[in-house]
Amino acid sequence: MKPARLIPITVVAVLIAALTSWWQGSGPAPAEGLVAPPLATSGGPDVLSSTWFCAAGGADTPSPPRHALLLSNPSGDVVEVSLTAYDEEGVVGREAVEVEAERVERVEVGRLFERDDLSVMVESASGELVVEHRLITDGAVDQVPCATSSSREWYFPSQTTSQVVEDDGTISATSAARLVLFNPFSQDAGVDITAAVEDGLRAPSAWAGVVVPAGTVRVIDLGEHIQRREQASLTVELRNGRVVAETVQVLLDVGEGDSRSAAGLRLQAGVPAPAARWAFALGFTGEGVEERFVVHNPSDEPAEVVVQVTPVGGAELPPEPFELEVPGRRFSVIDLSEEGRVPGYGHHSIQVESLDGTPVVVGRVTRITGGPGDADEVPDPAPEPRPDVEAGAAIGTGSPVVATRWIVPDLVLRDQRDPAIVIHNPGGGIVTVSAEAFGGEDGGTTRVLDQVEVAAGDGLVVRLADLELGTGDVGVVLTATSPVLVERIVTFPTRGDLAMGVAVPVRPSGGGELTPIAEL
């Protein structure tokens, strides 16, 4: 055989080898794109409609709390809103209201439906409508944006059913927690609830296969099965169907009869999915402030977590991060107010990152037990002081995503209240931020921030009380040149409480997704 006859077969062999080494195939493409945002979001003006689910309508308080809906309409058009109220039996009633352009409309559920302890679904043809709900009782108040999507999983990193025992052995306060499962959908839901406590996992049989019939609400007293627990991380998993879940925790003064009162109220929207990285724009320390972070690891594998605290204005020299080991299905707690590395005065932002990528859920628990300290301790230059309230409790779960446009639904400007917006830039470049307030008693819009720069990793605290916005319920639309995280704090001095939490990000137009912090 002539050697020349080997040429064709050699060429063929080489080409086949090249082809097979070039393309090794691929598995199914990642099924992404439709994961519900990990927090309530606004669709913006391009969106067909919006639906908000406000689950918790009551609390274990001596007297039933008032339930108010705060309907923020930053758009220039009047928005028709349909409200449907539910209780454990089903639909209680439907009402329609109009929200004027660039206004925040407060709707008292009790007035509209003659009962406050109702879950409410808010529907609107406007994608820009943002809805928050607030529970108000004698000594406590809290508010949180309603949910915009359901989920098959919900996480509540920090719940407490403990009693507060003073040094002298007396019980000064106790707490109660309830889980509200809201199913306005057409399919019955089956729910399994488990709680991670300090010494293990609790999965009471009564919490297995809890049925939430379609179009109803189910309220579960967490204290029935996890009694006297200072810290418990709750996981709600659905066997079938969909629900929206919220928890309401109440700290009660230990009094007798009518003297019992709420000392703090913590309303928390469930976290639909764990993530490897979380950010909190807002944190503060100071005298009388207790700030703890609870990291719950719902997976089976242990997680190595670092907590990075960055003081506002001090991004260039942040303190050493804290490292936590979180076993699988357990939680770890770090009390920043006890850590010397964290400056004892002013605001800071916090980022929590799971180093090995194990998704976790993070809760920030803030409790104020006294007023601000002496001015002598204020460092130079003086950062923004902590909120001027003497009592209160708040809980927040941060955000794994950032956005370039945010809506703060409601900031109450009256009665010496001191609402503030905190903007955190977790990215690597300078971000220019603008903000415009709308609503108030007079309506209309007012420029709050105009092209203000926020350095990389830094934060910005904007106190609205300083801006002469008048009184009333005010919303703020904030835009940034790059994705940022926005939180807001609302204080209620007269009731001795405060509300802290992430604002509502606006999804990018055209079906885009919010930017995960991990991608920055």
């Binding site: 393309w23 979001t41 067909l48």
Partner: protein
Amino acid sequence: MDHDPNEPRPSRPGAVTAHEPGGTTPATPGQGPDRVDPVDEVDEDELDARWGFAPSEPLVGHGAPPVVAVVVTRDPGEWFEDALRSLGEQDYGDLSVLVIDNGSEVDPTPRIAEVLPTAYVKRLGEDRGFSAAANESLTAVEGSAFHLVLHDDVRLDPDAVTQLVSEAFRANAGIVGPKLVDWDDRGRLVSAGYSVDTYGHATEVVEPGELDQSQHDTPREVFALSDACLLVRSDLFRTLGGFSEDLPYFGEDVDLCWRAHVAGATVRFCPAAVAAHRNRFGERRAVEDRERLELRHEARSTFTNYEPFRVLRLLPAVVVLSLVDLVGSLVMGRFRRAGDIVASWAWNLVKLPSLFRARSRVKRIRRAHDADYVHLMRQGSARLVSLVRPEDGENRLQSAAEAGRGYLRELTSGSQRDGVWFALVATFLALVGVRDLISGPLPVIRELFDPGDGPGRLLSEWWTGWRAAGLGESSLPPAVVPGLGLAGAVLGGSVGLARRLLVLGPLAVGALGAWKLFLRAGSTRVRGAALVVYALNPVVLNAVAEGRLGAIVTYGAAPWVLRRTARAAGVEPFADPLEPRPRPLRAAAGTGLLLFAVASVTPLGAGLLVAALAVLALAPAIAGDRPGAVRMLGSAALAAVCAAVPSLPWLVAAVGSGELSALTGLWRGAGAQPSAAQLVTGDIGPVSVGAFGWGVVVAAAYSLIAGRAWRAGWAYAAWALALLTWAATTALAQTDLLAGAGAELVLVPAVLAMAVATAMGAAAFDHDVVGSDFGAPQLLSGVAILALVVSLVPIGVAAAEGRWYQPEGDFRRVLRVVGEGEGYRTVWLGDPDLLPLAGRPLEGIDGLAVAVSNGLDPTVTERYLLGDGEGSRRLRSSVEAALRGETTRLGRLLAPMGVRYVIAVDRPAPEPFARSETPLPDGTVGALREQLDLSSIELNPGLSLFEVAGTWPLRGDLGQVELPADDEDPAQLVQSPTEAPEPLLDAAAGVRTRVAGRVPGGAPLFHGVEHDESWTLTVDGERVGPSPLFGWAQRYDVDEGGRAELRWRTPVSTRALQAVQVLGLVALVLLSRRRRAATHVRRRRRRAAEAPVVVVGGEDGTVPEATRATVAGAPAPGEGGGAP
């Protein structure tokens, strides 16, 4: 003038009186002209007749009855003079010759005049067929006692006419025929009469080439004789009206004899008369459609000549036999014969009026019952036996036997035994592997569409030009839709059977194509190698498993397209370069029909085949036959153009809509993509071959080493095609563009290439290796065979499963419990590779497409989506909004579109039938569950089913419906729930192009299809045009109620496209037909105007001087007879 054949004819001057009814002969053999009527010798004659002794003495003298020899000729060869000379040398005393020239290109008169100056010549201006030409004697001759019908290639023995006339008188026969022997070898018999079976099928009594050993030398009554030489009594000939002119060639002699039996006459074979017949019809003119003509003429004679009761009795049997013949022909790959059978039936059905007229004529002449002559016919069906005959159609019985013997010889031949074994193994495995698909369930998965509930709907979609796909669209469907409808209609309304044939038929057709691909190579080894690689290729088996119909159909056509194109180009080994090539247009038209059939299902498949031909055209170029390569390219291009003509409607519509996937069938999907190695080995589905798949590659590579000349050319070209195909498929896999039609379709050219390359390896072994010195090629041949055998191992294992892992169940099975009917629509969501209908991708959501079916069952037309109307866009945007969490009221948006169900699927079939899964994007089902007006129905893990609340009927009364102020704003639909209108105009019947009923006055009518001005509503004769509603649907404002009709009027442009399609298809069919053997033009005879006694001239009426002659007993032309 007609006569009773049993009546004596009057004597004429110079003519011999016809025989008496008693059968006495006017002359005795051996006697002279003056020895007429020797009554005392009658006993001896009877004795001779009884013992079969033929009279040997010439019948001459004054008393000989006049005989006119009618020679029909057309472009005669050099033998013609011999034939004429034999007539001139006849010892018969009263023989005239009339030559009828049936449209010769060269006037034969001088040749005739030179040899036989007394003969008359009548020229016809064109070929009217043998029958019509012979019938010219009816008007051109009068006064003769007998017509001797002759072909122009028959040479009579000198006493032949005498013997025939004697036999006619002796046996009182109406028709007498001689013993026909071979022109060149008188020792071999050509014909001794026909054996005709009950169904009119005639076969020669003698076997082809049979030696004449006096075994047929007994005069006898037969059913029919060859009209190569036929003595027929003139009065009988006139009574019968001559030959049937509806039968121009092939079968006209049987028909004539049959009618003679009907008229009470007898047909005799006279072995004493001998004629040599050249009998090479095929050399003189194209006879490719001989079998078709024979088939249809057999049927024609059968239905014409039998009595009514017998026809009725035979009809079912004829139908069954034809079906058996048809199926048998299809199974045996004799598609030409199958086409002949169909064409035969079609011809006879079209000619029904003519048939009834012919029956009427037969009725008038009938003097005998069928029972009187059927004993002369052979019982049973010779056609069934002839199934095994070879393609040339000649010498069928012996050829069949020869073929069988040859095949057995091949089986026992050591040199070809491996090829035979490969073929047998391939056939066995293919049959075993597909056994459950033949009779078992054939699911609706991917491209294996549901054909619907009957052929009417499919045909209607084509005829009306309104398709139910999506929310309705004005377009002609792909040809597979009406094609399936037609097939269903032919199969008695069973579109399911038509679908099964469509799915499984190409598997057999493709395998047969591979077997016949290298027929001319003359090597079973080569054919076996091609068959085993092609028929058992894992690519096509996975196409079956995965429901890739486009790949299956393309696979079925590929080897045939290659074979036809290469033969048309005259390249080796597909054709002998020295043989004449078929006409390019005819060849291209046939190939174009094949490509059109493929394009009907998958235009991309047809395009791939043309591209493959272009690459394979390298083969003759490499082998040194550049003209052949150019011809092959040209033939492929011409075939593509031919195929494009009838495909034009879909091409125009697809190009006009800009929907490329309507032509390619490919979408971007999210499923797993095979690696390049898997693509090369075909390991791309449930029929997993793993590393064994490299066996075929190794076997095919052998041809690169061993091949020479055309073997090397085809091997190199095949490998070039394979490499290009694999590279292109890999590129598509990388870009996730293989969803829908799948990798299987794109890989079909590579499958063909591997079969060609492997076959070339076998051919190279035969031609280039066996005779050469021992070396590497010999050693490597063993490796190649071993590799091929190894590659069959996993296929053999998979064959045991019985259905190539195709799922047994489909979504229909699961959804049947939910509901049926068509008065609503269903939205399907899922990866476009999984949906059983065509979907459109959702913007920004990779791997998710939305599709719409009418009712719950997707049908064939919904597999081909074209238009993207406003309704379709709104439906998609609504679904997108719901999936992105932008609305929780999807139901309110879908309800006016008539959507009752939303189905999300993540696998091609429900559990437990699915073998693979492409997960829906996270959150898809969650987002649907979140919709407040969708109710979830739990059915099966493979699909998520939701029911829409408040679905609108497809046609409804908007009178009580409060529509949003801005009905085009979807947000208002979301905000303000609208009650569904009351159904009207048979809304439950689903989408129809014509519905009627009563409508109330003063209320608008809602019609849930894409807005189109071609819809009209007529209320009590008053037409109302549609106006848009919701931006996509239509409303009709009816002032006064009454009887209404809602109707779709097909646009003129659609009609024009239909005309182009039909005319193009008809033109292709006509062009691809084998050339007709005759142009039969019916001509009305002008008996009254013609002269009573012969005379004949040229076409212009002139009579050549040299050819003038006088028929015995008749005046000469110009003497009173009157020349025309």
